[in-house]
Symmetry: C2
Subunit: 407 residues, 2 copies
Amino acid sequence: MSHPRGPLAQLRRGHEELVLGLLRKHGPLSRGELGKLCQLSRTTLYDILAGLVAGGAVVTTGPQDAPRGRGRPAETLTLNPEAGQAIGIDFARRAVHVAAVNLAHEIVGSASEPHDADLSWERRVDLAERLVGSLNDGGLRLGALSAIGAGVVGPVGWPEPEDDLEADEPAHPVQSLLRERFGAPVLLDNNTRLAALGEAIWGAAAGGRDVLYLRLSHGVGGGLVVGGALHRGAYGLSGEFGHITVDPDGAPCGCGGTGCLETVASIRAVLDAYRAAGGRADDVPELVKAIRAGDGTALTLLKGVGGTIGGVLAAVCNAIGPSVIVIGGELAETGPALIEPVERALRAQVMPVSRHRVSLRRATLGEAAGALGGIALVLHESPLLSRYPAGPDLAPDLLEDTKQRHP
Amino acid sequence: MSHPRGPLAQLRRGHEELVLGLLRKHGPLSRGELGKLCQLSRTTLYDILAGLVAGGAVVTTGPQDAPRGRGRPAETLTLNPEAGQAIGIDFARRAVHVAAVNLAHEIVGSASEPHDADLSWERRVDLAERLVGSLNDGGLRLGALSAIGAGVVGPVGWPEPEDDLEADEPAHPVQSLLRERFGAPVLLDNNTRLAALGEAIWGAAAGGRDVLYLRLSHGVGGGLVVGGALHRGAYGLSGEFGHITVDPDGAPCGCGGTGCLETVASIRAVLDAYRAAGGRADDVPELVKAIRAGDGTALTLLKGVGGTIGGVLAAVCNAIGPSVIVIGGELAETGPALIEPVERALRAQVMPVSRHRVSLRRATLGEAAGALGGIALVLHESPLLSRYPAGPDLAPDLLEDTKQRHP
């Protein structure tokens, strides 16, 4: 599938999505069965199918165990398991992570590579392209790619529903680079928010409609899934849990504020505090070792940090009412030494009526969370699905399909 | 319109909604014009119109300035400006507030009456019925009522999208009482959350898609409008800003927690603190008088309370990223003495990048906010609109109409 603009191209892509959706739902179908289900004219359907087969999205297979004799047995059409439908890319500060799903919405694979923090966007996109090329042992086909969901560091504005998603002004330089390189639409969001979506769709909070995700890393941030959808906030500035004030007389924060949670609970803040208290650790793995060895200084420190984090989570919980809180980022590797005091403070400070209704979990997707969230973004928010012109019998199928993707 | 259940009744109501939507959009139309626009069969349309005219939703008017001679001039059909389409009712702790809109979505009027806190639900519904009967000088017709949006004190669960909204189990006793009395579906929510929706649709934050509403009254609560829709949270427990801890060593709160914002910023907390500091005021109007007279004790007290409120709002802002914060409830009547310190603390503690992006406003709807929010709930979430079976040419009109209601 190429990605020209204009209403006719939009209509054609809508037809393609319809046919792919039917094959996803029903499995292998003959042309005749597809024709009945999709209600497109024979000419249109055959034209669409020819394009899908040529692009590698759909493969034709001969009939298995079909009785011979009565004319030529019907050929069946199947989704190509090697055809990538959506790619997720997480452009983190010092690494690129990618993942892809095929047309059956199965995860085909994921890959990562670290890089210097000052690498240009051009080179980062080169790296992403190479990583995508390595997926499925190099066998991933991109002819049926519907879109890319990419995450970047920092706030990302999001167009209003009435904006044209394919308008000429990209929100970020990487958007046009990716669009040129992969020839597909690019949906962009903050990478921590995408990690939140990833954990809510595929990870620790899978199936949760109201999820709070907190990432404790070099920075402290997070994201909210609200009613099953990623929440962005009026100016793309939601989920900034790291900049909630925990001590008005505290340390200055990189954001320009004072005493933010990040000044207490980032990797550097924790390591600095640990060393100031006489501990020795240059990174999180060394801190984890000290904790496993029962180091009292480390345990006391994390108890205090965890209590502060729990208090912030309780406040946000009262405001938003999530069913699941997910804690990710490298500092979550410190395990119960941190998570237990977080949980104690959370349950002590959240409204008593909510105390046993919210569950606290460690993130499960690791560094792939952002890339997987990018895929979820594409599958949930593809303008192709929402803009498909509804017909009398097409609409119910399409709606049902869309509902399945928005559980 | 009566409200029997079942798919055929649902279809009929869908047709009625379609015809009413066309009259709302295009103004007066002849039967012929309506027939072309709605694409229903002539028999079905005439049957639907007969029902709407008999129920008082639609009135027929003779042709104005029509040329005589060529047969009988066409009669036109118009929405009855006296026909209520939606009623909002706020069952507050000690008062009932009602409001209604007609089929053109114009507010027909609102009314309130206080009552004892221990009045039975039966009697409260009597009161609501009487107040509704008084609207439009008693001229409001209820034959075309599509639904009632009602607010009650306390948490209200909300059915999942797949639940049957007309299922037999009511979420609250008032729901079945209202359904029996008015013969219309009843949508229920927490009344403070409905006030948030009211302010976001008709009031201080009209048109805002991401709105935080804080009510400072006998209790301290609020609501969130997220992406243009009311946010409910996983267990119907969102917007509980009053139970965010502001002092872990503070006073016990009615919720079972300690040092909640409500223990500092409720009417009673403020009046108690004022009297403890030597001030004399039995209620908010007396406190307002003291402030207007420049009473230093009152001003110092409100400065402190405002600073605490502003800190909580900053934390929630960082988490959610609203574009507008609305402060309502009786304590907001203290004006700049409270609002200015709230704003100073908010701007000092919110992320600097958000500092000038969020605007703080006083609520404008007063005690009618909850009832108006109930109407907004009906117009936004009527299952009739979302369940209307889409046809080839009907869908675009209907979608457009729905979009207009979800700006």
